[in-house]
């Protein structure tokens, strides 16, 4: 007594479809990173060069107008990308590689509290304080914010990777691996790592966003690179007063930051979900 309606072919399964979100996020992210890295080479004007009157509207001088010192906004965006993109990127990679390594190893000994105590010392200090202190002491070199982000992000990566791997370390398949005489490093690579790669990757996306936030906040507060070097957050902070004259002087760098962090997060989540499948 089955009716045709019940036997009608089903709509295509969503899992088999191309993940549009991931593709769009990846495209935006790649575009922003390429723009940031290679931008200075094809910027219409050198960094810091005045090309017209301050805070001119779009169209008159350059397609995004000029900032408060009469510099081309578009050129400034292209020149400021490297610091905004590369510092958090390098710092996040360094912090997660180090933090995840320690965390994956620490997952073997979930009851060991010594590591926790050490991490707590860092976590207890406000991230911004660490960054400003280092900037104040060691100057405005790009390595200073990188070091600060590594120090700040490291404990969170450790804790995340450790809790993600604890279950795998205690599993009966790891016990079996020990019983056939596998080394710890083999077990880590073949039994544990595949089980934590997804969550750890998605955590890395989050860490990156936090790093961007920290570095841009410091720049916004005036601890950015000295002129003529620039970054997107410095541009926002310096042009705030002129928002009513040329909105693009702050909207363009703000948009660029958003186009960096939001797709990075989305992509990390999607990749993690793909690994989990």
């Amino acid at each position: 007594m089955t009716t045709p309606s019940l036997l009608a072919p089903a709509p295509a399964r969503s899992s088999r479809r191309l993940d549009l979100t991931a593709v769009v996020a990846a495209a935006i992210l790649i575009a922003v990173v390429v723009l940031a890295v290679f931008g200075p080479w094809f910027a219409p004007h050198p960094a810091g060069q005045t090309i017209g009157r301050p805070l001119a509207n779009t169209g008159a001088d350059g397609w995004l107008g000029t900032d408060r010192l009469g510099r081309d906004v578009w050129s400034q965006i292209l020149h400021g990308g490297r610091r905004t993109v590369i510092i958090p990127l390098v710092a996040t990679l360094a912090a997660t590689v180090a933090g995840d390594t320690v965390g994956l190893l620490a997952g073997r000994h979930p009851r060991n509290r010594t590591l926790d105590a050490l991490l707590m010392v860092i976590i207890a200090m406000p991230a911004m304080l660490i960054l400003l202190l280092l900037l104040h002491r060691f100057g405005k070199s790009a390595w200073v914010p990188i070091a600060a982000v590594v120090v700040v992000a490291f404990p969170y990566s450790v804790r995340y990777a450790r809790s993600a791997s604890t279950k795998a370390w205690g599993s009966s398949f790891v016990e079996q691996a020990r019983l056939r005489g596998e080394s710890n490093s083999w077990i880590l690579r073949h039994e544990v790592l595949p089980n934590v790669a997804g969550p750890v990757l998605s955590d890395t996306g989050l860490r990156f966003t936090t790093s961007v936030q920290l570095v841009t906040a410091a720049s916004f507060l005036g601890f950015g690179p000295g002129a003529p070097a620039t970054d997107w957050a410095t541009q926002i902070s310096k042009n705030l007063d002129g928002a009513s004259l040329n909105l693009w002087a702050i909207a363009a760098p703000a948009l660029m930051i958003a186009l960096l962090t939001v797709p990075a997060n989305l992509l990390a989540d999607r990749l993690a979900a793909r690994i989990e499948q």
Partner: protein, 542 residues
Amino acid sequence: MTAQLLRFDAAPKLSVDSLTIADPDGRLILTDISFEVAGGTTVGIVGESGSGKSTLLRTMLGAVHRDLRAEGAVAVDGIPILGAPRSTVARLRREGAAYLGQDPPASLTPSMRVEQLIAERIVERANSQAITEALHAVQLPTDREFRRRRPYQLSGGQQQRLALARALANRSRLLLLDEPTTSLDVVTQAMVLDEIVRQQSGRTTVIVSHDLAVVAQLADWLVVLRDGEIIEQGPFIDVVYRPTSDYLAEIIDACPDLAKKRDQRPPHSALDGHHLASALKVDGLRAAYETRSGRVVAAADVSFDIHPGECVALVGASGSGKSTIARSVIGVHAPEAGTVRLADKLVAPRAADRTQDERRRVQLIAQDPWAALNPRRRVGAALARSVERFRGVSRSQAGKIGLDLFEQVGLHPDLFNRRPDRLSGGERQRVAIAIALAAEPDVLICDESTSALDVSIQAGVLDLLAELQRDLSLGVLFITHDLGVVARIADRVLVLDEGKLCEHGTLSEVFDHPHHEITRHLLASSPSLSATIEDRSPTHIQ
């Protein structure tokens, strides 16, 4: 309108008429299901995992997953449930029906007190009298102190009873049970079944299970489900006595049954004399483990041995320390005292201190086929790795041997490159056996290795183990609480109670002349299909 109707005054009639359910791909989950349950009787629905039996039971609560499409009719006391308005369905669930699923204690919110858990389900004013009656009905204490307790302050058996009391607290006359005893050991299972039998009178009951022996104790009417279709149905005794389908005959045969003991073989000592080397010899083992509530002695001076080609069953209730003994033997649990000898050679207590060859000789197949396999590794790769490590062959050769092992345990080569989540429970357990065999062990320890499987799948795995034991001269230590399984596979039986071996003998010695009370208790608790049928059969059947 339906306000009065959903509190049934008498046990309601239940009818399912031409019920068909399909998933979004158009695959049929249930096909043209029709049966009726007279008021006050019990229907048992039997089928293996994936046969659609849980889906069928849930339609009686008006619950059909929103992705599924259903046609046909389900009615309780003439009130249509399928496609009924939400208010009717809500009233049915709150007032009309009692439902108990798998792992009943999991339905108890840990932060709520006994009285709150009961009061929540009482339809009228939840006064003290009503709570007392609900607790009394399942033989739980009714004093104030008990009612103030929280679920974790109750024993396992009390939790089971409380879950049942909670389901029945709305005084419904329709009781729906979905594998309520599947995760329990036989002793607890017997207790819960007794309780359900006591609650059956004046109620219409539907029980879904893969275990015919459980259904046999309750059901008046039997529905056999396979791949979403009814294969056979009728009065329980008639159907079971004269199954018309091969499938039902197969299920009846697969049911572990105390009364169906394997052919007894002569004990090895008599056969070969005492000088025969034992594959495994455990002497004076003492082991304990820590729990939150304190130290549990798992083994107090336990000694036994296993000869090649012999299957020894280690039997005991949950928590009697069986698994800890197994873990001590393979060297992942540190015993306090005692020695382990493999092939008459003393080995170190810790696996890490044993040689690779010593580790090879004894292999464990764990309880849970889901936890034992890495979800991120292809099963073939895991198997090949085990071959590579224990047989010292090249990787490509290990792959070939792995495929042979796959065949030996009855798995299709197509499954070789799958991840564990794409295998069924029975297939996973076969993979686990293949991985153990990769080591060419002398002794195989099976720790409740089949208790998570459907009876029909379990029978296949048990047959495989028996075959391997014979062909490879494997010594097998089979740990279980299910004496029906023991009857099928064991040569000798060890009964464990509170860490002590209280009984030891050949299968027929222990089963026919149990000395210890624990053994008698376990034997009495084990459901036996043939014995139940014998009890229930009317005199006209000889």
